[in-house]
Each structure stands twice: as structure tokens, then as C-alpha cells.
């Protein structure tokens, strides 16, 4: 070895080579494509087939979309302009868009009311959905249901104010009595106080029907996407507390209460929503005392609320079952009674686990509100199927009309599910 010095070797490198860039196929776009699109013959084949499909669809759809006609009075006029070209006739959205959004009977000069209600919904939902917003905004959220009721249905503003005052009175009665006498009596006192206040308030609002009044719009005039939004928001918010009660009932040790909840939940989950809507439209009226005349939208709200409450109950039951038993026992050992234990220890954790499931149910429910078109209510789908595609002007524009409907639902449902995934990440308290 010793004689192998620098003189006996022909060449010795004394400096490092400059770092050369990676070979072309190991860097940048080419590398990415080799790894993600053409990593083997099967994968390459898949890619080529996929590209073929995508390109074909784009070639078909893009000119249809881009050359669409927006300003005609009827489909016939539209076809005249297009001369058989492959293009959409979006003028139906221009011409009948308001019917799709607000229904056929809602007075056109009052469209600003549901629009304002829709915009305010985001402001009201903000502090509930995002923790970082100022807490004072929650007061607006609490007031929103009454405001929205007044905006959409009209009448004097006293009616929702009186109901709100009744609920506030009920809340104070509940907190005060609960502190002294316990949960059950607190609930009784709260309900009693609220009923009395609403009943008394009814006289006041009945006496002054014209005070800060908007034009009264009957429920049967509601329609279009507005009806889907109304049904969706009301039913989800009502079914959440009902679902919690049902889930607690199903988990309880008391056999009779458990039995009632199990039968109710399994029955509702076993039948399709359509049959429940049939009940709402033809049977439910028989079960009310003679002479009461509930309008269809209210009956539908009752049935859809029961429907989604059963599903939410099952989701929350999953959350309750997922909590370790030690949590229940720890609550008991602290001397908390059942109501305190549930409110302070069990439900906050169980509800957190159930958020994705609840959101799934809410999205599903919102989509299912289109089913009311089957019992001839003119919601978004009903308005398109009935008055729009049924009119001589627009029969045959189903792609444009239903495409618009699908887009509206997609935006909202996709938005909600993205929010729930974000919230899940936010609420994750374990360290990963």
C-alpha cells in the first residue's frame, strides 16, 4: 500500500465537483409525472384512459357552457338563436331564477326580505361556528330566529318580540328555581313562565297588529330554494335538542323510558322519509283536535324534525357509548346528580365526538328537504318540475335548471362538510 502515493496514481481529484442538478427525469414536473401518473404500465394505462375521459367531457361540456344564451324569453326563441348548436339556454335562470329561489307565489316586491334573512343567517351563524369571533355577536344569534321569522312571514314585530320575551322569562324562572329546588322543578317553572308570558303577549300583539308590520305572507306562498333553506335550518335546529333527549333516553337505566325511545327511533329509521311526508300531508291533520288547521309547512316541519331527531339520536348515542365508563362514575363520585352529570361532564364530551356524524345527518337532511316536492310543495325541485318545466315556454331545459339546483345544493353541502372537517381539527385535544 505504501508505494501507492500520489505519484504512482495517474489522477487524483483535489477539489470537489460542482453539485450538478439532478437528472431531468428525477426532478420537477417530469419526476412528479413519473411518480404520480406513469409509475408502471398499469398506471400509465389508467392515466391515458382518465385523460381521454376528462378531455372528452370537457370537449362536450365547455362549448355548451361557454356559448350559452342568457337573454331570451322562451326556449323556442333560444333554439332559434342557437340554430342547433350545442349550447345551453341559461335564459331560464334569468327568466325564472326568482321562482327557483323564492317560489312561484312569493310577492316579487318582497324578495328583499328572505334575501336579507339569508344574509343575516351567516352573521348569526358566525359566532356559533367560529370561536374567534367576538362573543357579543351571540346576542344577535339568539335574536336571529325571531328576526328571521318576522322577515319571512311578516306581520307585526310584536309577535316575535313577545315570544322572545316569553322565552327569556322562562329562562330566568328556570335558572332561579333550579338553584333552589333542583332541575326538574326548574324545567316546570320555566315552561310555565314562558307559556304565561307568550299567552299574555298574544293579547298585546293582537291588539296592535299594525305596529312596525311587514306584509303578512302565508306559509303556502313559500317555495323555491328558500323553502329548502327554511325547512333545513328549522328542522336541524329543532331536532338537535330532541335528538339529545332521545339518545339520553335510549342510554338510560329506566326500562320504560328506554323502551319508548328505542321503539320511536327504530320505527322512524325503518321507514322512508316519503312515507312520513305522506303522513304530514294526508294523515297528520286527523290527529289534531277537530277544528285546528295547521298549515302544511308546519306539519312537514313536525315530521321532518321527528325524522332527523331519530338519526341525530343514534349519532349522539354513539358518542355517549364511546365515552369511557369512568367519566360517568367520576361524575357520580363528585356527588353530581343526573342532570348536572350530563350537562357538565358527559354531554360536552359526547357531543364533541359526535360532531362529524351530526353534520352528516344535517347535510343529508338538507338534501332530503327536496322530497317535499313529492307531496306537491313547490320547493326548488318542485318549482323546476312543476311550473317551470311544465310551462310551454321552458319545457325541455332540464339540464340548465337541474344543473343550477344541483350547484346550489353542492355549494352549501360541500361547504358544511368542509367546515365540519375544519372544526374536527380544531377540537382535537389529543396531541398528534
Amino acid at each position: 500500500m505504501s508505494d501507492k502515493n500520489s505519484q504512482s496514481v495517474s489522477y487524483v481529484r483535489e477539489t470537489f465537483l460542482e453539485q450538478s442538478p439532478p437528472p431531468l427525469k428525477e426532478a420537477g414536473v417530469v419526476k412528479w409525472m413519473r411518480e404520480n401518473l406513469f409509475s408502471g404500465w398499469a398506471n400509465s394505462l389508467l392515466t391515458i384512459v382518465a385523460i381521454y375521459f376528462v378531455v372528452n367531457i370537457i370537449i362536450d361540456v365547455w362549448p355548451w357552457f361557454a356559448n350559452g344564451v342568457w337573454n331570451t324569453k322562451s326556449l323556442a326563441e333560444c333554439r332559434e338563436i342557437l340554430q342547433g348548436a350545442n349550447a345551453a339556454c341559461f335564459s331560464v335562470l334569468q327568466e325564472r331564477g326568482n321562482q327557483m329561489l323564492f317560489g312561484i307565489a312569493y310577492p316579487a316586491d318582497q324578495y328583499w326580505r328572505p334575501t336579507l334573512g339569508f344574509v343575516l343567517l351567516f352573521i348569526a351563524a358566525g359566532p356559533v361556528l367560529f370561536n374567534k369571533l367576538p362573543k357579543q355577536m351571540l346576542y344577535f344569534s339568539a335574536a336571529y330566529p325571531f328576526l328571521a321569522f318576522w322577515l319571512i312571514w311578516g306581520g307585526t314585530i310584536l309577535t316575535p318580540i313577545m315570544i322572545a320575551l316569553g322565552l327569556i322569562a322562562g329562562y330566568y324562572a328556570f335558572t332561579n328555581v333550579e338553584r333552589l329546588k333542583g332541575f326538574a322543578l326548574g324545567v316546570v317553572a320555566g315552561v310555565a313562565a314562558a307559556t304565561v308570558c307568550v299567552w299574555l303577549g298574544g293579547f298585546i300583539s293582537g291588539a296592535l297588529p299594525g305596529l312596525i308590520a311587514l306584509e303578512v305572507i302565508p306559509s303556502r306562498d313559500m317555495g323555491g330554494f328558500m323553502l329548502n333553506m327554511i325547512l333545513g335550518t328549522i328542522c336541524v335546529s329543532l331536532s338537535l335538542p330532541l335528538g339529545i333527549l332521545l339518545a339520553l333516553g335510549r342510554q338510560s337505566d329506566l326500562p320504560i323510558i328506554k323502551g319508548i325511545c328505542v321503539v320511536f327511533i327504530e320505527f322512524i329509521r325503518g321507514v322512508p322519509l316519503i312515507t312520513l311526508l305522506f303522513v304530514a300531508s294526508v294523515v297528520l291533520a286527523y290527529f289534531f283536535p277537530p277544528g285546528t288547521n295547521l298549515d302544511l309547512i308546519l306539519r312537514v316541519i313536525i315530521m321532518i324534525t321527528m325524522f332527523s331527531a331519530a338519526y341525530i339520536a343514534e349519532v349522539i348515542r354513539g358518542g355517549l357509548a364511546a365515552l369511557p365508563r369512568g367519566q360517568y362514575e367520576a361524575g357520580d363520585s363528585l356527588g353530581l346528580d343526573y342532570a348536572q352529570n350530563m350537562r357538565l361532564i358527559i354531554l360536552p364530551q359526547a357531543l364533541k365526538i359526535s360532531i362529524p356524524g351530526i353534520v352528516n345527518v344535517a347535510v343529508g337532511l338538507f338534501k332530503d328537504t327536496t322530497l317535499v316536492s313529492v307531496i306537491s310543495m313547490f320547493d326548488l325541485v318542485g318549482a323546476i318540475r312543476g311550473p317551470i318545466l311544465g310551462s310551454t315556454d321552458w319545457t325541455g331545459v332540464y339540464w340548465e335548471a337541474f344543473g343550477f339546483a344541483a350547484l346550489l345544493f353542492f355549494v352549501i353541502c360541500y361547504g358544511i362538510s368542509q367546515y365540519s372537517q375544519w372544526l374536527e381539527r380544531q377540537l382535537r385535544t389529543d396531541h398528534r
Binding site: G270, V271, T275, F278, V283, D332, D337, S373, A406, F409
Partner: protein
């Protein structure tokens, strides 16, 4: 959950105050009150119902089921005409519901499994396309999909009379299948007497034979370690006896293609557009949900399982079949059951495209003709309840058989 009673006070005897103050007795009080409220509420509702019915001059009666229905049903799996009873119309509807639900369940599973696996593919384009499919179909109401597919097919497909040759795009696929705006006409089997029975018997027997062979091969592998080939013997057992029987018996089974007679097709099987649209929409909508379940199931299997199997020297196909899939199935099956239930319940949307399922016959025409709303809807709910409970109990039996056996 409240188990706060003090065991030391058991011998003090009972007095009436304890009904409220002692947790042992308080639960009885609470349940008693609930029961009373329930009975009171139900009797109030029933009382209202009876009062309203008698005021309207109605009563509850099931006689209408025996009366002639007087309407036609276009898809008749069993014999039915307009003189048949309402009960028979309901049964026809029930069978139609089961047909579309069955077809949709199978195709939704296929679509869902393929889409779910492809969504996990290394191929960026394919996985993004599958993600697009899943999100687009999950977030739009199934009713809209049913209507779009129905209207698009009835608008875009040629009329049967176009198949006489004038319209170039109206040609039959393989001269056997015709896509028209009235539905799809496919060939049907023509059976030729006893020989046909033998042929079908041979086919069923070879199907059983395949299962028996695979069972035997697995048992041999577990007992002795000898590995028999699985792939080509299965195919051979499935095909060869059938082919032999077909030619030895002198081609006892033939295909009858639909033929254009006048303005319409005769012969073959007519799958109505309403059935196709409902089937396709349910399959592709539920397939998106099943794809998510499949993806979640596969992702739930920790990577260590795959790596462990690989380090034992298993090939990728075997890793999937022997290690990953059996475990993933446990996660996938419970949500799959509820998707099947959803399909069955969503098939009631048939009423939107005029497919005569039980909601269309019993809950639709029969209800409107007889005016027996309460009876019809009760029967309708009962039918769906029975179907739902049957599906979930059958699938639960299967679920229990693949469940993780713990000590």
C-alpha cells in the same frame, strides 16, 4: 346512571316521601309519570282521530284491499291486470321495490368498491377524478340525480321507430341491445324443454363446484402446506362443464333478441326507463357513499399490517387478500349495511319518475282512488319496516361471522 343510594338505609321501611327523595324509588315514580303521560297522549291522539273520522263520515276498514284496483301497472313481475285486487297491486309494487333495491345494492357496491380503491390509487389523476365523483354525487340530493338521469335519457335517446334505419345513431348494440327513450331492450333466454333444465343444472353445479374446490384448496393449504393453483382451475370448473353440456345437449338455450315490429320492439326483456333511471341514480349516488366507507376501511388498517405481511414474504396480491381485506371488511360492513337500508328507503323516490314500486301503487294510486290514507300509509310503513329489519338482521348475522373474535 345514578347509583347514589345509600345501602345502609334499606331497613328503614318505606314511606310516601321516599317516592321523590330516594333515588331507588324516584326512578319508579319518574317512569310511572312518563307512562301515564304516554298513555294520556296516545289516547288523546286516538280520540282526536276517531272524532275527526266520524265527523268526516269515515272509518277504519281493510275491505278496500279485496276490491278490484282498476288501474294498470306497466312492470308486472307477477300476473296482474286492472281487475286484480288492491292487495295484489300492492304485492306487485312490493316486488318492484325489491327488484330495484336489489339491482341498485349490487351495482352500488361494485361502483363504490372500485371508486374507493381507485381513490387511494397512487395515480394522481385517477384519485382526483374519484374524489370529484364522490364529492359531486354526495353533495347533491338523490332526487335531482334521479330526475336528471330520467329526463336526460328520455330526451337524448332515440325513439324506437328511429331504429328502422333512417337515424344513424339509432343502431342496436351487437344487434341485441337497443337503447330507446322508452327504456332498454335486452335479449331474453329461450329455454328448450328438459334439456335446458339440465343445462342450467350443470351451470349451478359447476358454480357450487368452484366454491367446493376453493374450500378444499384452502383446507389443504392449512393442513399440509401444499399450495394448489386457484385461478385457472376455478375458471375451468366454471366454464368447461357448461360449454360441454351446451353442445352435447344440442344448444338447448338460446337468446331471443328484441325485434322492431312496427313502431316498437317486441321480444326480449324491456327494462323501462323509469327502472333504469332509478337504478342508475341510486347506484351511482350510494356508490359515492360506499366509496368513502371503503376508503375509510382500508385506511383504518394500520400500515404496520401491510409491512408485517411483506416482511413475512407475501406478495402484494396476497397481502391484500389475506391480511388487509379481511380486516378492512370488518370496518366496511356495518356502514355498508346502512347504505343498503338507505337504498331500499330511497327507492321510494320511484314515485318521482313513475316507476310503480309500492309507494307508487299502495301509497300512490290505491291511496288516491280509495281515500284510505291511514290504512295505506300504515301498510306502507309496515312493509318498509319489515324490509329494513330483515336486511339489517341478515347483514348483522354476516357481520357477526366476520367480527373480530375476542376472548
Amino acid at each position: 346512571m345514578s347509583t347514589l343510594s345509600d345501602p345502609g338505609t334499606g331497613n328503614e321501611g318505606f314511606h310516601i316521601g321516599k317516592l321523590l327523595s330516594d333515588t331507588r324509588y324516584r326512578s319508579y315514580t319518574l317512569q310511572f309519570i312518563t307512562l301515564l303521560a304516554l298513555i294520556f297522549g296516545l289516547s288523546y291522539l286516538v280520540n282526536n282521530l276517531l272524532t275527526n273520522l266520524s265527523e268526516a263520515g269515515l272509518n277504519i276498514s281493510w275491505d278496500f284491499l279485496g276490491e278490484p284496483a282498476g288501474y294498470d301497472i306497466n312492470q308486472r313481475p307477477i300476473e296482474y291486470d286492472s281487475q286484480s285486487t288492491h292487495a295484489r297491486a300492492s304485492i306487485v309494487g312490493a316486488i318492484n321495490t325489491l327488484i330495484v333495491a336489489f339491482l341498485a345494492c349490487i351495482s352500488a357496491t361494485l361502483i363504490g368498491v372500485v371508486a374507493g380503491v381507485l381513490r387511494l390509487s397512487n395515480n394522481w389523476l385517477v384519485s382526483k377524478m374519484m374524489a370529484f365523483y364522490v364529492e359531486a354525487f354526495r353533495n347533491v340530493p338523490v332526487l335531482i340525480w334521479i330526475l336528471i338521469i330520467f329526463l336526460a335519457m328520455s330526451g337524448a335517446l332515440p325513439q324506437p321507430r328511429d331504429f328502422r334505419g333512417e337515424v344513424p345513431e339509432a343502431t342496436m348494440l351487437f344487434d341485441m341491445i337497443a337503447f330507446t327513450n322508452r327504456g332498454v331492450y335486452i335479449p331474453s333466454f329461450v329455454n328448450d324443454g328438459a334439456a335446458a333444465v339440465v343445462f342450467w343444472g350443470v351451470l349451478v353445479a359447476s358454480l357450487v363446484g368452484v366454491f367446493a374446490y376453493r374450500r378444499y384448496a384452502t383446507k389443504l393449504l392449512f393442513d399440509t402446506g401444499r399450495l394448489l393453483p386457484m385461478g385457472w382451475p376455478s375458471v375451468a370448473i366454471l366454464i368447461v362443464p357448461g360449454l360441454l353440456a351446451f353442445f352435447i345437449l344440442g344448444r338447448p338455450v338460446g337468446l331471443e333478441s328484441p325485434e322492431l315490429k312496427g313502431f316498437n320492439f317486441t321480444g326480449g326483456i324491456h327494462l323501462r326507463l323509469s327502472l333504469i333511471a332509478l337504478w342508475f341514480a341510486l347506484a351511482i349516488y350510494t356508490g359515492a357513499f360506499i366509496a368513502e366507507n371503503v376508503r375509510a376501511g382500508i385506511q383504518a388498517i394500520s400500515k404496520g399490517q401491510t409491512e408485517a405481511a411483506a416482511s413475512l414474504g407475501l406478495r402484494p396480491g396476497r397481502i391484500m387478500n389475506l391480511v388487509v381485506l379481511p380486516q378492512a371488511l370488518r370496518v366496511i360492513i356495518p356502514p355498508l349495511i346502512s347504505q343498503y337500508l338507505n337504498i331500499t328507503k330511497n327507492s321510494s323516490l320511484a314515485i318521482a319518475v313513475g316507476y310503480m314500486d309500492i309507494t307508487g301503487t299502495l301509497g300512490g294510486i290505491t291511496l288516491n282512488q280509495t281515500g284510505r290514507a291511514i290504512e295505506c300509509i300504515l301498510l306502507l310503513m309496515l312493509f318498509y319496516l319489515i324490509v329494513s329489519l330483515t336486511i339489517s338482521s341478515v347483514m348483522n348475522v354476516y357481520n357477526n361471522s366476520v367480527k373480530l373474535k375476542e376472548r
